[in-house]
């Protein structure tokens, strides 16, 4: 995903595009640097300064991207984002690579599991949560079309593509796994959990439960309307998020329904910080959001409600 992002950024960049990195992106950002060497700066390991500078560049007419990994260009410089970029509604896209447990074995400092809550609570911010490369293309179009603060949560090594060639990407996408049958279950996912949602749907299908997957690559002002329309008719909605439970994607889905019209169950991370390390699969299992645990839990719930 990082490579597709840089490829598109490099293609779309003009003299008003500026990329600032926080001493990260080795082996990734070079194509951009080659094309636009005087519109690139390694700001060093100094994210607060990087973010303040991004605000200054944007104030002076640039479309700016800050690039780092995990929490470093989000929580580390949260007040610069809040006051300098968001309050002033500046055209800065914060690009953070490796959300959730993508840097699992690196330890707690590298687990980005509060980012959607934090970024999503700030004024004017659009959340961009692509789940595959087609959705990266889609959000990049959006970034170059829309002004203002944006947060791009970019998976690391997520190279699977879920959209069919012919399928047009939109702000909410429905993947009808079972051609003619309408699913009884909606699995709503974004960013890194899109892949998990497909695995869950497959496991549920084995148990005779028809589930459809929904992805949400863009959360902006239209989100509530869009999600209500998309999930119309689904009695059972399950949100899967690799993020502290109920405060990420699920918060936006629940808000859209105001908590009344629908049963919305969330699979997200427990709030405790894991004191041991592990790869992404291990940590998802620990937090009970691995596909097998989610599928088991859903089928248990549905069987209960059928009785």
């Amino acid at each position: 995903m990082r490579n597709i992002f840089i490829k598109i950024l490099t293609e779309k960049a003009d003299r008003d595009t500026y990329l600032v990195i926080g001493d990260l992106g080795f082996g990734i950002v070079e194509p951009f640097v080659k094309k636009n060497p005087d519109r690139f700066l390694n700001a060093g390991v100094a994210e607060q300064n990087m973010t303040g500078m991004a605000a200054g560049l944007a104030l002076s007419g640039f479309k700016v991207f800050t690039y780092s990994i995990g929490n470093f260009n989000t929580t580390r410089c949260l007040e610069q984002i809040r006051n300098d970029i968001c309050y002033h509604d500046l055209d800065v896209t914060i690009v953070s690579v490796g959300p959730g447990f993508m840097y699992g074995s690196q330890g707690y400092s590298h687990h980005a599991v509060q980012d959607i809550a934090l970024m999503g609570s700030l004024p004017n911010v659009k959340l961009l949560l692509p789940g595959d490369s087609r959705e990266v293309e889609f959000v990049m179009d959006y970034i170059f079309r829309e002004q203002g603060p944006k947060y791009l949560r970019l998976g690391r090594n997520c190279e699977k593509v879920f959209h069919q060639e012919s399928q047009e990407v939109s702000k909410i996408n429905r993947f009808g796994l079972l051609a003619d049958k309408v699913g009884e279950v909606a699995l709503v996912a974004a960013s890194t959990t899109l892949e998990n949602a497909f695995s869950v749907a497959g496991l549920l299908q084995e148990k005779g439960i028809a589930a459809e997957v929904f992805s949400c690559p863009i959360i902006d002002d239209d989100f509530s309307d869009n999600v209500r329309r998309a999930l119309d008719g689904f009695k059972n909605v399950f949100v899967i998020e690799e993020h502290i439970s109920s405060l990420g994607l699920a918060a936006f889905v629940r808000n859209a329904f105001d908590g009344r019209e629908k049963m919305i169950k969330v699979f997200g991370l427990k709030r405790d910080s894991c004191k041991v390390v592990g790869n992404r699969d291990y940590l998802c299992e620990h937090h009970e959001i691995s596909p097998s645990l989610v599928a088991a839990s859903i089928s248990k719930m549905l069987n209960k409600s059928r009785i």
Partner: protein, 273 residues
């Protein structure tokens, strides 16, 4: 001889540490081997000659504290702590694996580790707080912090440098692992901080600059600074080589990220002796 310790003992410990680290990163395909190799002698001198602490009583209230602010180099610290008996050496085999406390950024769940880091620029302010705690209670223990040179980009450090001098924290020792490389280039090309000594002197710190792979120079610097009555916080700029010990990884940017192939692993073992 260094007090009661002879040089061979230090050399052996440094060699074993590097071999342990090489094995850890190889078997788990982990990054940051170069960052670990550049601080081996610093850690050896601290743990064998300088720090007043004891693996049999890691929570001793009077112990000297060490914070590894460049937490990505933790494989070297874990290896030394295991060598010194803080925990069984077998635990090193779990490094960065599922269900292990040996996170690949330093984790305070590990016996002997004072504080978890991983986001750069946190260690020094926390160390300053510890130094302040010792002073405010009139206790004699000291706080040592290892920072990396790229880490000096972070403004949080400079806030702490200013405050530590203002508070006359002469129980605070900072070691800067000056290996001239960071994650996307040479430090001089990213944010050139030269002349470094002059900056710290201007911040009112007592500064020494030495070869960070030389036991005698390290020992002398710590001894001089420990005995100093200047009332200022103490800082050692340790000139080091990123990847020191395995020729083909020395001073190479990509070895911030890479791990050895099978062949490179064998070659490295030979060089490490």
């Amino acid at each position: 001889m260094f007090g009661k310790v002879d040089e061979k003992e230090l050399l052996d410990l440094a060699r074993r540490t590097r071999k342990d680290v090489w094995q850890m990163v190889y078997s788990t395909k982990s990054s940051h081997v170069g960052s670990a190799f550049s601080i081996v002698e610093i850690l050896v001198v601290l743990y064998k000659l300088i720090l007043k602490n004891n693996h049999k009583n890691p929570d001793d209230a009077e112990r000297d504290r060490l914070i590894l602010s460049k937490g990505h180099a933790c494989s070297a610290l874990y290896a030394i702590l295991a060598e010194l008996g803080y925990f069984p050496k077998e635990l090193l085999d779990t490094y960065a694996k599922n269900n292990s406390i040996l996170m690949s950024h330093v984790n305070s769940e590990v016996p002997g580790v004072e504080f978890s880091t991983g986001s750069l620029g946190h260690g020094l302010p926390v160390s300053l707080g510890m130094a302040l705690a010792a002073k405010s209670r009139g206790e004699a223990w000291r706080t040592f912090t290892i920072l990396s040179d790229g880490e000096l980009n972070e403004g949080s450090n400079w806030e702490a440098f200013a405050m530590a001098a203002h508070l006359k924290m002469d129980n605070l020792f900072v070691i800067i692992d000056c290996n001239k490389l960071q994650a996307f280039g040479f430090t001089k090309d990213v944010v050139n901080l030269d002349p470094l000594e002059k900056k710290f002197e201007a911040f009112n710190w007592e500064v020494m600059r030495i070869d960070g792979h030389d036991f005698s120079e390290l020992y002398r610097a710590f001894t001089v600074l420990s005995n100093s009555q200047s009332g200022r916080p103490k800082l050692i700029i340790a000139d080091t080589i990123k990847g020191r010990g395995v020729s083909f990884i020395e001073n190479k940017l990509e070895w911030h990220y890479r791990w050895p192939s099978d062949e490179e692993y064998q070659q490295g073992l030979i060089e490490l002796g």
